[in-house]
Symmetry: C2
């Protein structure tokens, strides 16, 4: 999950309303063969990532997704269905559809099951890249539940601890906890120190990488020349600990769901033609099984405020709770628009033209 | 969770058979007023920590536990019970009993529920320090299930990210995944880079702390003088990421269970007289709801072997899977005995004498 440095918008960026971006994405997917309702949901979910500041998982991905769907690598008319169902579990067959649709379906299924049983563990196989992890715990959270999302990354950029081969993803986890008057707590993190997207950005900008982000596959020493990223491995958070977390997440979202892990993970590239068989998992927990929801929310509010009001280290302007900045950004961007770089705008215009759609820059903003 | 440096035993340490240590612990707890079956289970669970190498959570803690029970800080005759039960959830009231007993009960309850519903989320409140986290996922694992344990630490040694006050624990998580011919995967980690126990060991040995373990509360700069540990804060793994994990674990094991978190956490010291209201959670997932257990185990074995056989970085002798070393150590120590330092042996002898029990050194080894 890339926390793109998009808070302070450079002057060159241009703002587009969320509605216009949603429409563009929906029309794009419809033109690529998705049924109308699915195309609309894709627009909503993708732009949600832009709104919360997960720019690397938002509309930025539209050209790539469109290419995959048009090439048949992703199934536009997927029959996403519950393959197995227990009193508190489900396994979803994503039918190689868009990961967003698979995981939104999985999260709704989890809420439904958790309402009956108190908790639901819902896994998905034959899914695909699902964008910003935070989108899916947000669904249980909206129903007064805790949401936990985890996934096998679409590409392997980490090695097992001590290893030199990229056999593990930066397998992310996202957890949402409802609050009362405060924004919900939302932690959304990869198990690596830095994302590969961040490395790529450094390479594009010709900036060196800080030590601790990557090591050289050949000798295990810090790799700081971003242009050599192909020779490097991303480092997990906390050394063997983050590596262990990535492994556990990978096995629980991969093999447990009958999805890819390790050597079975397909190379994530625009030229991919084989089904990725991505595995993801969502857990929903009904808080009311433990205590009244309002009492829980009041306690979470109290703890958030006590942490926020606690003494700070010198130079720290504020103690921020996970999800707080994303929530603020969401409000601001829904009102003022989403900033896009000129390069991205150009690419989106090209895509629209290819599909015979109205260009982004031609839509009133 | 302290990974004590006990693999290479210094000459001064003496080996004691696990049976003798179990008997000593059981007799100690019985002498402190625990019912016989509970005392025996305490002996088994505590020494299990020694066997797997979590020495800081093993027999080492016996004097402290005995003191708490005798002082009435922990209830020797706790009525541990299911307070709330849903189709896939339970809330356990630990009645301020020994944390080990509470969590073993919770884990058995989770297995029972997960057998019926596929998954179980079982929380506990009014519990206490439960020793090595790995003990509890091991219970579902022994039943062909995934086990996930998490807890609010007994003491606050971390600050919220950017903060200067120790308001968060190094809240640990332990996850167990069954394998076939390979030892089960068992990740057991705190969310801090180093444990407070490790800091204390450095202080005792007069060794400086590596940078990255602690920061000074006054200025946020690295604290490397271990004797000043009281002025420091432990650092989370991966900066704001590990801090976020610690927060999430703390809220899901604390307030959700009606247990302490943040400012409500009681100071963890031998002089404590107030109930700690420790919160812990165990999740059990029945693998067979997703695929046949044997097929899953075969896949886990295959992935373990593929990772282990993959290329290594220079200087790395082996790629180790979480739980592998603990498993090896367990076999070896069950056979050869558990090494104890002279200081600990002396303390245990003193405790035995106080309680009118046979001294450890008088028992045939």
């Amino acid at each position: 999950v890339t926390k793109a440095a998009a808070t302070d918008e450079p002057k060159a960026e241009r703002l587009f309303s969320a509605d216009i971006l949603r429409a563009l994405a929906a029309e794009t997917f419809a033109a690529c063969g998705l049924p109308g309702a699915d195309a609309t949901e894709m627009g909503r979910l993708m732009v949600e990532a832009d709104l919360i500041g997960s720019d690397a998982h938002g509309i930025f991905r539209l050209p790539q997704y469109a290419q995959w769907v048009r090439a048949g690598t992703i199934n536009p008319r997927a029959n996403i269905r519950v393959e197995k169902r227990g009193p508190a579990t489900a396994l979803i067959d994503g039918d190689n559809g868009m990961g967003h649709l698979v995981m939104a379906f999985a999260a709704r299924t989890a809420v439904e099951i958790a309402r009956e049983s108190g908790v639901a563990w819902v896994g998905a196989r034959r899914s695909n890249h699902a964008g910003a992890g935070a989108l899916y715990p947000a669904i249980p959270v909206a129903h007064g539940m805790v949401g936990i999302y985890a996934a096998v990354s679409s590409a392997n950029h980490m090695a097992p601890w001590g290893g030199a081969e990229p056999l593990m993803g930066t397998n992310p986890i996202a957890v949402g906890i409802p609050a009362g008057a405060e924004p919900p707590i939302m932690l959304d993190m990869a198990t690596s120190v830095a994302s590969f997207g961040k490395i790529r950005t450094h390479a594009l900008e010709g900036k060196p990488l800080p030590e601790g982000w990557m090591v050289d596959r050949a000798d295990g020493r810090p790799l700081t020349d971003a242009s050599r990223m192909k020779d490097g491995l991303l480092l997990p958070i906390g050394g063997y600990k983050g590596s262990g977390l990535a492994l556990i997440i990978g096995l629980l979202c991969g093999p447990l769901n009958g999805a890819a892990f390790g050597r079975d993970v397909r190379e994530f590239s625009t030229s991919a033609t084989r089904e990725s068989n991505t595995g993801q998992t969502i857990i929903a927990l009904d808080i009311a099984r433990f205590l009244p929801l309002d009492a829980f929310k009041a306690e979470i509010d109290r703890h958030i405020r006590e942490l926020r009001a606690s003494a700070r280290l010198p130079g720290v302007d504020a103690i921020r709770i996970p999800g707080e900045q994303a929530h603020r950004r969401r409000v601001q961007r829904e009102q003022n628009g989403v900033p896009l770089t000129p390069a991205l705008v150009k690419e989106l215009d090209k895509l629209a033209q290819t599909l015979g759609l109205e260009r982004l820059t031609a839509r009133s903003s």
